[in-house]
């Protein structure tokens, strides 16, 4: 446990190294569930949504959609059940924050879920945990059991008139089930192939009923926002992107791990000051800022604040905050191969552009890496990536194209070098 404690903590993670935080008794003793009790007994759903809206909380699952706005899409005149879904399918390479949020702070998540369920009028929450996350699933199962036994969940949640239960569901290994409608299909016991939208989940979601889907980290912010107020939240981070974010730092750094920092913290500061820079006195070559789908930044562009409004200017995105660092020994064609192999294997295959495109990218990149690539292949690579963008059922195809586009934009010379040198010109003893 101790080994994976965050290096820098904020309000979400400050009690992660305290085992009591993970237990019902410990969580209650420190005032846990009092915010939910207040919300369920003294606030209307509209009031809760208003606070979350004005806090400016954006979803932490990758698309940064405003959470309060999403909650307001739920129909209020609908008879019959509606659902809340917690997306705990975390499988974006580079991302490991949701796992630790669940393993270390299950009650913080449950409190967020209960408040959100009240706000959107959901009778049941489905907590869909990635299939490989056995430890998180067992911690959550225990926490849900405790919460039921103590009347936090149940027909009169926390003494209110609101009845609510959380149903733990485990995935079975498929990246695409993280896409919210793929997740809904999987929840219904089917292949996780994303649905056409509209209808959006708020209209027709799980089992055909109105549904709100948010990410684990998004829910974890909610109790803190309700407790401390929207202004407090807006005082952290940037004007457009408030709050802290759990940055997962990995790859060639001295101190990889989890860092909870305000949105808008500079990338070079995270890399060199917090994470201790690159080991062995080597130089940084490129950094993927937000999980493998987000386009890479070269060494010269790391003086950027980690929030979408700044990252967009540099043709990349915040994604899930999974920062992957590569030093000067790293072959960027190899990096492309690893990304493309992943996307080829995980495409659900419904859209031709995506199914064929991910296969092409993977073949072309491997050909270049082997030294069998031509200038024509290089041109084709960029062309295929551009044609994959837009027009598919879900944005997986975009996510597969972006890393390639980023690599070509900033490391085009290195790709061309693989053609002219008929192979990788880098010292292979350091190769990936």
């Amino acid at each position: 446990m101790g080994q994976t404690a965050p290096h820098v903590c904020g309000y979400l993670t400050e009690r992660f190294s305290d085992d009591a935080f993970g237990s019902f008794a410990g969580y209650r003793e420190a005032g846990g569930y009092e915010t939910a009790r207040h919300a369920l007994n003294r606030m209307t759903p509209e009031e809760v949504i208003a606070v979350v809206k004005s806090s400016g909380l954006q979803g932490r699952g990758g698309a940064s959609f405003p959470a309060g706005l999403k909650w307001s899409f739920m129909p209020t005149d609908d008879e019959g059940p509606s659902y809340l879904v917690c997306n705990a399918d975390e499988s974006e390479p580079g991302s490991f924050k949701d796992r630790l949020l669940m393993e270390r702070g299950p009650h913080q998540l449950l409190e967020g879920l209960l408040i959100a369920a009240w706000a959107v009028g959901a009778e049941t929450t489905f907590l869909y945990v990635r299939g490989e996350y056995a430890e998180a699933a067992s911690v959550l199962a225990r926490a849900i059991g405790e919460a039921r036994a103590k009347g936090v969940l149940g027909p009169r949640a926390l003494g209110s008139d609101f009845g609510h239960d959380v149903v733990l569901v485990r995935g079975a290994g498929a990246y695409i089930c993280g896409e919210e409608t793929g997740l809904l299909e999987s929840l219904e016991g089917k292949k996780g192939q994303p649905r056409r939208k509209p209808p959006y989940p708020a209209q027709r979601g799980a089992f055909g009923r109105p549904t709100t889907v948010n990410n684990v980290e998004t829910f974890c912010h909610v109790p803190h926002i309700l407790k401390n107020g929207a202004d407090w939240f807006r005082g952290i981070g940037t004007e457009q992107s408030p709050g802290t974010l759990l940055f997962g730092v990995s790859g060639h750094v001295v101190r990889p791990g989890l860092y909870e920092l305000p949105l808008g913290t500079r990338l070079d500061e995270i890399l060199f000051e917090y994470a201790g820079g690159v080991p062995g006195g080597r130089r940084v070559k490129g950094v993927i800022p937000g999980g493998i789908s987000t386009p890479i930044l070269p060494a010269g562009l790391l003086d950027v604040r980690m929030a979408n409004e700044f990252l967009r200017e540099r043709h990349t995105l915040l994604g899930t905050g999974g920062i992957m660092v590569m030093d000067e020994t790293t072959c960027m064609v190899r990096v492309g191969c690893i990304a493309s192999g992943f996307f080829r294997d995980e495409s659900c295959g419904q859209c031709t552009q995506c199914r064929e495109g991910t296969g092409w990218l993977d073949q072309l990149l491997h050909r270049l890496e082997r030294g069998d690539g031509s200038d024509g292949d290089l041109a084709l690579l960029g062309d295929v990536a551009d044609k994959m963008e837009g027009g598919t059922i879900c944005s997986f195809a975009d996510a597969a194209a972006w890393p390639v586009q980023g690599l070509l934009r900033h490391f085009g010379d290195e790709f061309a070098g693989h053609v002219s040198a008929r192979g990788c010109p880098l010292d292979q003893s350091f190769a990936l």
Binding site: Q3, T4, P81, E90, S91, E92, P93, G94, S95, F96, D98, R99, T124, R130, G131, E132, Y133, A134, E135, V167, V169, R170, G171, A172, G173, A174, Y175, S186, L187, E188, G189, K190, K191, G192, A206, F207, R209, G248, V249, S250, G251, H252, P256, G257, L258, I288, I292, G322, M324, V325, M326, T330, V335, I338, A339, F342, D345, E346, L432
Partner: protein, 167 residues
């Protein structure tokens, strides 16, 4: 592959009463029975080691599905197996963050140590070795999982010792 499996039309496996009861408890947790399909398959696989076609047929009967519908779900998800695996499943993450910290060398060392290639099982049926996509432990790389358990911040000797320690 799927079509030949279906064409064989095997007799359905008889599932134990305990397993049936556990599946029924799962079904009760969902608004529609089919929601419990993944959970049922997990229970069955945990007990029988894999979900062979006759077993898939038994599950299909419980859910009122065509066996092909169950096979379609089975083949979509990486964690389900239609064939028996070794007693221990050892999977090294070879996605980017782990590869940057030596995961591919680690996997090659384990291949050599066990005398099998990734994707194969040792002749004594003890270990199935494989690679895996990102397991959400990128900050603690390189890592592998043995069954459900994560082992992080490994090097060659530590990984070999882990594998040697498996019964």
């Amino acid at each position: 592959m799927v079509s030949t499996l279906v064409a064989q039309a095997p007799e359905a496996t008889v599932l134990s009463d305990e397993l049936r009861a556990a599946i029924d408890r799962e079904i009760a947790r969902f608004p529609e029975p089919r929601g419990a399909l993944l959970a049922a398959l997990r229970l069955v696989q945990d007990e029988l080691g894999c979900i062979a076609p006759p077993t898939a047929r038994a599950v299909a009967e419980i859910f009122g599905l065509h066996p092909a519908e169950v096979l379609e779900v089975l083949s979509f998800y990486n964690l389900f197996h239609t064939e028996p695996q070794g007693r221990h499943e050892v999977r090294v993450c070879t996605n980017l963050a782990c590869s940057l910290r030596g995961a591919r060398t680690l996997l090659r060392e384990l291949e050599e140590h066990l005398g099998i290639r990734a994707g194969q099982t040792t002749p004594d049926g003890r270990v199935t070795l494989g690679h895996e996509e990102c397991l959400g432990a990128c900050g603690y790389a390189p890592m592998l999982r043995i069954g459900d358990r994560y082992h992080e911040e490994l090097d060659g000797p530590a990984a070999r010792a882990l594998v040697d320690g498996l019964p």
